[in-house]
């Protein structure tokens, strides 16, 4: 029974958070839109002028944009594929009776808590260095030539590092979902003579459909704006080979100081993220009612 007084109180309590988030969302976004219509370079102060959609034309037709869009899609798609294809069997494995499960789970989850700059640099140097890295030594043991990871397959190297960071996330969520699966349902299936494979296909997999969707959407939101891992390993190179959209905008803004073009790029990134966000918000919203 909400009286007018409690309603007023409730609104007062809610206001600071809503107001702050509103300002946080609207002010920078409005400025980004405004800057995107200007010719505005920090190296050339005082020359700001209105250019309409010129920056968008420039940004969208820039070959660097297409390259970075492609890199972004490849990166997001590959990391998603790797973390889910490995995450499902890993979660199934951890759902079995395992001696010392809590320790195993700690080891599996650990990479997620490592700060991005640390994981990127440890992988790049200690593991993937073409001469002194551990991978090079292992390749040598098998009589194979060492791979110069960041020169021969730069994007793949970045993908490998990021997949290592996100595999724990996917696994943990899928494991949590598996543990909520009704054990009796599986038992009933087994008693009816269902094989392990058909139990998996007809009971476990459908149960995992929703958590997998959630993993895909949340990972996509974070992966669309991967930055630190590229910043400390390749700096977007060689050439544009590891430049994603986030890194391209960063380099236009803070290396070339081209505010107008970077803002136009920023808006493109916002639109891309919103397409994903639209679906995620719907799934979460549906859950809110249940």
């Amino acid at each position: 029974m909400a009286t007018q007084q409690t309603q007023l109180l409730a609104r007062t309590l809610l206001t600071p958070a809503v107001a702050l988030l509103f300002i946080w969302m609207i002010v920078p976004l409005a400025l980004t839109i405004y800057f995107a219509t200007l010719h505005y370079n920090l190296l050339d102060p005082g020359s700001e002028s209105f250019v309409g959609l010129e920056n968008f034309r420039y940004f969208l037709t820039d070959p660097a944009f297409l390259a970075s869009l492609q890199n972004t899609l490849v990166l997001v798609g590959s990391v998603l594929a790797i973390t889910i294809i490995l995450g499902v069997p890993l979660a199934l494995l951890l759902d079995q009776q395992v001696v010392g499960l809590s320790i195993v789970r700690l080891m599996v989850i650990a990479p997620f808590f490592v700060m991005p700059t640390v994981s990127a640099l440890v992988w790049k140097n200690l593991l993937m260095h073409p001469v002194s890295g551990l991978f090079a030594w292992i390749a040598h043991l098998f009589g194979l030539p060492a791979i110069d990871w960041f020169n021969d397959a730069p994007l793949f190297s970045v993908i490998l590092i990021i997949s290592w960071q996100w595999l724990p996330f996917a696994t943990l969520i899928l494991l949590t979902a598996l543990q909520s699966l009704d054990e009796e349902q599986k038992e009933a299936a087994e008693m009816d003579g269902a094989s392990a494979i058909s139990t998996f296909i007809y009971i476990t997999l459908p149960h995992l459909a929703r958590p997998i969707t959630v993993v895909i959407l949340i990972e996509t939101i974070f992966l669309l704006t991967v930055f630190a891992e590229i910043f400390v390993t390749t700096g977007g190179g060689p050439g544009l080979q590891t430049t994603n959209i986030a890194f391209l905008i960063y380099s236009q803004a803070l290396i070339q100081y081209d505010v107008g073009s970077a803002s136009a790029g920023g808006l493109v990134a916002v639109v891309l993220a919103n397409i994903v966000a639209f679906f995620l918000v719907r799934i979460v919203g549906r859950n809110l009612e249940a």
Partner: protein
């Protein structure tokens, strides 16, 4: 558990799980080992796994040469400060939405969630320019402010999902007994909300500690937290592996411990309650 699990099955899955767990954890283990080697040994081929000359000199050098604790302190202040402020703003908001929901509550929650989906790079330019013109670049205040706003939606959401699970009957009973809203908050709600508050605090400390977009772009030296400090080791080649490893081990150790305690909340917090 009524299901029969054969011993053979258990042995196989245990072995497989430990092997996979070890492989996933290995890069971290390898880093910790390297932090106790001399630079020459860290770089040596073939690598030595355990039988090397154990030394702690890297930990000493990291502090002496680069003032590690200055950056660690920055990390503590920035992560702690932004999390605390976010909690202070979020607790009343989440409380209000959980206990006095209106028709618009769901929309407000989803709208808050959608602000989290805005890619930070989309607003990098204006934030950078605003910070530059008001002198917030490379200050802890600026970073606290940005990280607080960035994490606010997650904090509100997590608190909301916890508060919603507190049975409302108890509040009604307290009200019947004549408790004011203030007393209700302090004596009834707070004790029941502590676990939720603690895990929200924990998860957001972790997220703020590891944040590496705004910290890299908005700080250089004075306010630089550990993420930025570690990034300074990315300069090309050089025999810095042991020191990089020592600095990295120190940087991730506290958060790894906190993180291990908050595994379950992690799922809940990062999926906005969509998977429990």
């Amino acid at each position: 558990m009524a299901r029969m699990v054969t011993t053979r099955h258990k042995v196989i899955s245990t072995a497989a799980a430990w092997l996979v767990g070890f492989l996933i954890f290995f890069p971290i283990l390898w880093m910790v080992l390297a932090s106790f080697k001399t630079e020459l040994e860290a770089f040596a081929i073939p690598p030595s796994f355990l039988f090397f000359h154990w030394t702690t000199e890297n930990y000493v050098t990291v502090q002496e040469r680069s003032d590690y604790f200055h950056h660690a302190l920055n990390s503590i202040i920035i992560a702690g400060g932004s999390t605390l402020i976010a909690m202070l703003i979020a607790i009343p908001a989440a409380w209000s939405m959980a206990f006095s929901p209106t028709k618009r509550t769901k929309d407000v929650l989803l709208w808050m969630l959608s602000t989290k989906m805005m890619p930070p790079v989309g607003v990098l330019v204006p934030i950078y320019l605003i910070f530059r013109s008001v002198g917030l670049l490379d200050t802890r205040t600026g970073l606290i402010f940005i990280l607080c706003l960035g994490n606010l939606p997650i904090v509100v959401w997590m608190l909301f999902t916890y508060f919603k699970e507190i049975p409302k009957d108890i509040l009604e009973a307290a009200r019947m007994d004549g408790a004011t809203i203030g007393r209700e908050l302090i004596y009834v709600l707070t004790p029941m909300a502590v676990p939720g508050l603690a895990s929200t605090l924990l998860l957001n400390l972790i997220l703020a500690w590891n944040e590496a977009f705004w910290t890299l772009n908005l700080s250089t030296l004075e306010a630089a937290p550990l993420t930025v400090f570690i990034a300074s080791y990315s300069s090309p080649e050089g025999l810095f592996w042991a020191k990089l490893s020592a600095a990295s081990t120190l940087a991730i150790a506290p958060i790894l411990v906190l993180g291990w305690f908050s595994q379950r909340q992690l799922v809940r917090g990062l999926t906005f309650g969509a998977v429990k």
